[in-house]
């Protein structure tokens, strides 16, 4: 079955005179620790990825959006309301929290059905079956969710977040624990929901994942919004920066010289049989390094990007280096 958005009967056509999500100069501190600092953004229908390393403040920001915690300063509105104070607006939010917590003595069906019923879904059984089917979970299983694998528990959380056909979907690391096939299916589902007019906000700390989740990206680091906008512009920004690559080979000198001669790399240092290169032509390097090594009759033992971890991305975005 191809992932589809949840059934439309419960949906109501809603015109949004305000932004679906509006965060204005929001900060959150826990004692002396600043978790979120002066963050502002607005979101409407579509899929947005919130990218940031662990501890960057993503989950705190999500908790503020859902009203689970109050901002120390600034305002956070969902559909023009404060979810902490406004009971009806909570019925329009679907949250899949990061923590791996479920009511462990319930079956997946019971867990999702309780979510449907407490949301006031008109036909909870149908909605429950549909939501479970969407995430590829067996609706008949008698096993309690306490015995489920991490991936299955993740999908139970997703089904519970989807069951009320929410206008706002807030998904905190929803792909963690899923296998590649399920990841692809869920990403397709998120895009379907976004194109249906839902506001889907998904957090991740994996750069590669974000490229597939959403064209709109918010980058958060050390509690601050480091960058926002279209992912391609962000990537272009990143691609202008030289990449540092480490290559282990039995012909370091020859390979380094060849790469320099072909102007594929900007600089090189050699330590024993290890090449440390810098290049702004990362795609060209990827396409040509194997054939150059073959021509030189040298072996490539290991090619390791040294700076494509998130810390490097954030260091660049925040500090410009």
């Amino acid at each position: 079955m191809s992932p589809q958005p949840p059934p439309p009967p419960q949906s109501q056509a809603v015109n949004h005179p305000v932004n679906m999500i509006e965060v204005s100069r929001a900060s959150k501190s826990f004692g002396n620790v600043v978790a979120v600092s002066d963050v502002s953004f607005q979101l409407n229908a579509g899929v947005t990825a919130l990218l940031g390393p662990n501890g960057a403040g993503k989950s705190t920001l999500f908790r503020m959006l859902c009203g689970l915690t109050t901002p120390t300063a600034g305002t956070v509105k969902v559909l023009g309301r404060d979810a902490r104070q406004d009971t009806p607006v909570r019925g329009k939010i679907g949250l899949s929290p990061q923590q791996d917590a479920l009511f462990d003595r319930l079956t997946a069906y019971e867990f999702v059905e309780i979510a449907a019923k407490t949301h006031g879904v008109e036909n909870p059984k149908t909605a429950t079956n549909y939501a479970l089917t969407l995430v590829d979970l067996d609706t008949e299983t008698e096993k309690n969710v306490g015995s489920f694998s991490k991936g299955m528990r993740q999908r139970v959380k997703l089904a519970a977040a989807l069951v009320n056909d929410p206008e706002i979907l807030i998904l905190d690391e929803p792909l963690s624990g899923l296998d590649p096939v399920q990841r692809n299916r869920m990403i397709e589902l998120f895009h379907n929901l976004g194109s249906q007019g839902k506001c889907v906000l998904i957090s991740s700390h994996i750069l590669d994942e974000v490229t597939r989740i959403g064209s709109e990206v918010l980058v958060i680091a050390q509690g601050r919004l480091a960058a926002s906008g279209d992912y391609r512009s962000l990537r272009t920004l990143m691609e202008d920066q030289p990449h540092v690559i480490q290559i282990n080979t039995n012909g370091a000198r020859e390979l380094g010289a060849a790469l320099l001669r072909k102007e594929i790399i900007d600089g090189v240092t050699i330590e024993d049989e290890t090449l440390n290169i810098t290049t702004t032509k990362i795609d060209l390097l990827g396409r040509s390094i194997a054939s150059i090594a073959r021509e030189l009759d040298v072996s490539l033992i290991e090619v390791t990007p040294m700076d494509d971890d998130l810390e490097s991305v954030f260091r660049y975005l925040i500090e410009g280096r």
Partner: protein, 243 residues
Amino acid sequence: MATVSPFRAVALTHNVLLKQLVSKGRLIGITIFGLLPILLGWVIGRQSDDPLEAGAGFISYMGLSILVPVVALIFASASLGDTREDGTLVYLWLRPISRWSVTAGAWAASTTVTLPLTVIPMTIAAVLLDTGSTIIFATILTTVLAVIAYCGIFLLLGLLVKNPVIWGLAYIFIWEAIVASFAKPAAALAVSGYSRAIITGRTGVDFDFLFSPSQGVSIFMLVIILVATIGFTTVRLSRIEVP
């Protein structure tokens, strides 16, 4: 989207939390704990010269001041406290239902499981005292009232502190069992003060040193304790930082 009526929300919260509360380990442990008053009731019924007075004292001190509050503590403090600790509170909190419905549902869940685990052993103990039906009915009534009040108190405690069982045991053994037994002003601020007054009033046993409001006042005060704790828990739930 249809709305959820408050009473429907209470029932849903009750059902989901009841399933979380009832575990084999807890049930076996509490059942074994419940055998103690049964055994003591049987011994008192056979050994005491005045089994009614000894029985009323035993029900008051062993049952209403220790067994009932300890069992209520275990279930009521876990009812919302565990959901806060393990992160599942969000699945009830982030719903378009009123806060008091969640509180009332959690209280109802803990009361549902605490009642049989206390009323049954206490009733068997009262029967084994072999002093007639008055003490049996008095025991049932008082145990039910004490359970509903204690569940309210410990439901709130579960949201107020970490390690509520440790705090709760300290409260039970220091305040309810000892201080409230010897200081009348303290008894006026303890569930055991009112529950003892009901059982002594109904059985006609008179303990001179006991705080002794009328049965009507005692029942009223236990209900007030319940209402107040439900109210405070609802306020706490509204202001809590949900993990």
